[in-house]
């Protein structure tokens, strides 16, 4: 067992109102720069819809993520190492999205609004932020927001092609939900695995996936490797950029900008302890519908004394372990099983999970004397307007039973709380049918509905006092003359290890790749 800690997120889609505050605050923080105009580290999509970039879920087209090869082993869909060289993919990456698949970013010619008085009202026309030329807008990052124009594009949603339920596009029968998306900071990250330069990495202490801007050589395989299309190429610096999980804030114990500013309080951040040695084995599960459960099996119980002892041995800080014990993510994903990974069938072991939405069904159902007959929720959820198989194709690789169980649980919790606050009778036996008790139902209600800041975000501060300052870690070879800048302290720990009698192989594996399992 090799325990690692991972900072992860859960988004409660039931409460997402699609206001895009997360996207806008994220953009203002990270990507309002030349070269990054088209990037949205966080974006909110209306589902069903084609998304951003267009049709990102269509892996037959983009070839992102992993699949199993003939021998049942993991292989990047975009091709293994030899295939990339042999087919000249290094000269031209066939699977890479083009700017038009995202959109050509634009601004408006605001200056014309302040021109001298004219006969006609002035108009601010759209101007490309790349070429500076006037443009006719034909597509944007949220062109199909709230199903706008969906009669044209909705059927292109790759999830619709996968499911049996017929999706209605006429207005009375339509459904929609919001899907805020960010980098999944996967346990089995295909972007990291695709990077020829070794510029992409997972941080050992919290699993955040980052791009080393110094090392990136702009080969762009990370973009195609990522099935969520959450690594972007800056056309100005010619390097890859991605969601950083706001690591400077996380290190200070603060939530990410998208989570902090979420007006619906839908986002939760916490720590998960997992067994890194078993990730590959879990990702090689042949059955797509079981991948969600295989990933759940990787998560370790932070209250188990054996796990705690093993985590301490692995060098995980005590406050990280404590945060894992209080983790809202662990509560929702493992204890209550109401949160699910996004497209587990990509075999990436994503770490941003989602609570499926319930809203349309509750409106339909609450007029029907539901308090007296809570049993009604079971057939009602099966006929929900958002088809369960649509949710299952998004969140569980097609496993509908687990989605239904979560929705029953959420609905029953709501009915129970309504009865309680309204002073009505409620047969608490019903709670047992969905694996709830009065205590757990109340706890779940507090976590989901009240959603206090301190309940949503349980983030330990990082131990900066124990690691060399970031600027020194970059290496200071060549500045031997000055105090404190002898040979790069980046290698300082390696020298210490060598003195302690470790072999160079062990040191290499430990301090460079974290000793992870793959070759």
């Amino acid at each position: 067992m090799r325990i690692k800690a991972q900072i992860s997120m859960v988004l409660n889609l039931d409460k997402c109102i699609g206001c895009h505050t997360c996207s806008v605050t994220c953009k203002n923080t990270w990507t309002n720069r030349p070269g990054a105009e088209y990037m949205w580290f966080n974006n909110v999509e209306t589902k069903p819809g084609v998304g951003y970039p267009r049709g990102w879920e269509d892996e037959d087209h983009y070839h992102g993520g992993w699949h199993l090869n003939d021998k049942g082993h993991l292989e990047l869909v975009a091709g293994n190492k030899l295939n990339k060289i042999a087919l000249g993919k290094i000269f031209y990456n066939p699977d890479m999205p083009e700017l038009n698949d995202y959109y050509e970013p634009w601004t408006y010619d605001y200056q014309t609004l302040f021109s001298p008085a004219k006969k006609h009202q002035p108009v601010a026309r759209a101007k490309s932020q790349i070429t500076g030329q006037r443009m006719d807008l034909k597509w944007g990052p949220n062109w199909d927001d709230d199903l706008a124009g969906s009669t044209e594009t909705m059927q292109e949603d790759p999830n619709i092609k996968k499911i049996e339920t017929e999706i209605k596009t006429n207005f009375e029968n339509a459904f929609m939900m919001y899907l805020p998306r960010l980098c999944e900071h996967c346990l089995n990250a295909p972007c990291v695995s695709s990077c020829p330069s070794g510029a992409m990495y997972k941080r050992d202490e919290d699993g955040i996936v980052l791009v080393d801007q110094e090392k990136c050589r702009g080969w762009r395989f990370c973009m195609t490797g990522c099935p969520y299309k959450k690594v972007y190429f800056n056309w100005k610096t010619n390097k890859a950029e991605k969601c950083t999980f706001c690591y400077p804030r996380i290190e200070e114990g603060l939530p990410t900008v998208c989570s902090e500013t979420c007006v619906g309080r839908i986002r939760y951040i916490g720590v998960i302890l997992y067994d890194a040695d078993r990730v590959k084995e879990a990702a090689e599960e042949p059955d797509d519908t079981k991948l969600y459960e295989r990933q759940l099996d990787l998560f370790l119980d932070p209250n188990d004394p054996e796990v705690v002892a093993e985590a301490q041995k692995a060098g995980i800080a005590d406050d990280m372990i404590e945060a894992a014990q209080n983790s809202p993510i662990y509560k929702m994903a493992v204890e209550q099983k109401i949160a699910f990974p996004l497209h587990p069938e990509y075999r990436t072991m994503p770490m941003v999970w989602y609570v499926p939405p319930l809203s349309p069904i509750m409106n339909y159902f609450e007029g029907k004397d539901s308090l007296h007959n809570p049993e009604m929720i079971f057939p009602a959820i099966d006929e929900m307007r958002i088809p369960v198989d649509y949710l299952a194709s998004l969140l569980t690789g097609g496993n509908q039973e687990v989605i239904k169980a979560a929705l029953y649980k959420l609905a029953m919790m709501r009915l129970y709380m309504r009865a309680k606050t309204a002073g009505k009778d409620f047969d608490t036996e019903k709670l047992a049918r969905v694996n709830l008790t009065e205590t757990t139902a109340t706890d779940l209600y507090r976590l989901l509905a009240i959603a206090k800041h301190e309940d949503r975000f349980v983030i330990p501060t990082s131990h900066k006092e124990q690691v060399v300052p970031a600027h020194e870690a970059q290496g200071t070879v060549g500045y031997e003359g000055c105090k404190g800048c002898s040979l790069a302290s980046a290698h300082g720990s390696m020298f210490a290890d060598a003195k302690a009698g470790k072999t160079s192989e062990e040191i290499y594996a430990e301090s460079f790749y974290g000793g992870i399992w793959r070759d």
Binding site: F91, T131, P196, R203, C216, W219, A473, S493, I516
Partner: protein, 229 residues
């Protein structure tokens, strides 16, 4: 010194350019490693890049190794193996012709793309534009030398003059008189080629030296740990 211009171009100039290549490369890799990228514009335009880039890269790699063989293997070696001059040139022209044609088609499409695609053109630096044009010119000159200037000068054999001079460069005793009788197209090709080596490290071309060999043998997943104090 009977030919001061020839002396300059075939004794001084090559070392200026090669010196610039070596020192520039060292400076770039040591002091500015973060600036070395392939400078891809695939995000902005894909179709023409596909045809152009694949043709060009395969062609230029063939051409590079063709030049290495043509210049470095002395005529006496192939004579010793019993390869006749005609047979040698036939192989050289076929191999070089295929590589050269691929590279020419590729660079033509890439240059056309760089100047006509509005997004690519407006996001190009002056250096990107110069590199494209320079490569187009040198490849045209090379093809011209092989297939037009060569046949027109049947008495000229680069293996008894130009190649010997080029090898002499490596042990720092170039005899510039060997180059005096070389046809003009070849001379311009050599001068332009050396110029490309000269500005190579300061342009996007430097990506050719940053091949990610370590990817072949490294583990897939990379974890990084900040060194502890």
């Amino acid at each position: 010194m009977a030919h001061p211009v020839d002396w300059f171009f075939w004794t001084v100039y090559p070392y200026l350019m090669l010196g610039s290549f070596f020192f520039g490369t060292i400076i770039r890799f040591v002091f500015y490693p973060g600036t070395i990228t392939a400078k891809s514009s695939e995000l902005l335009e894909k179709k023409r890049l596909m045809i152009g880039s694949i043709h060009f890269h395969i062609g230029i790699i063939l051409v590079f190794f063709g030049h290495v063989m043509g210049v470095l293997i002395p005529k006496s070696w192939t004579d010793a193996l019993g390869i006749s001059n005609e047979l040698y040139h036939m192989f050289a022209l076929i191999g070089g012709g295929v590589g050269g044609l691929l590279a020419l088609v590729g660079i033509f499409i890439l240059t056309w793309r760089r100047f006509s695609d509005i997004r690519v053109h407006l996001t190009s630096s002056m250096s990107d534009l110069i590199v494209d044009v320079a490569l187009l010119v040198i490849i045209i000159l090379g093809m011209w030398a092989s297939f037009v200037a060569g046949p027109r000068n049947p008495d000229f054999n680069y293996r008894t003059s130009l190649a010997i001079w080029a090898r002499q460069l490596f042990y720092f005793r170039p005899n510039y008189l060997l180059m005096v009788g070389v046809p003009l197209t070849y001379k311009i090709h050599v001068v332009c080629g050396l110029a490309i080596f000269g500005f190579f490290p300061y342009t996007r071309l430097v990506h050719a030296l940053a091949l990610p060999w370590q990817y072949i043998y490294r583990r897939y997943l990379v974890y990084r740990r900040r060194p502890t104090i």
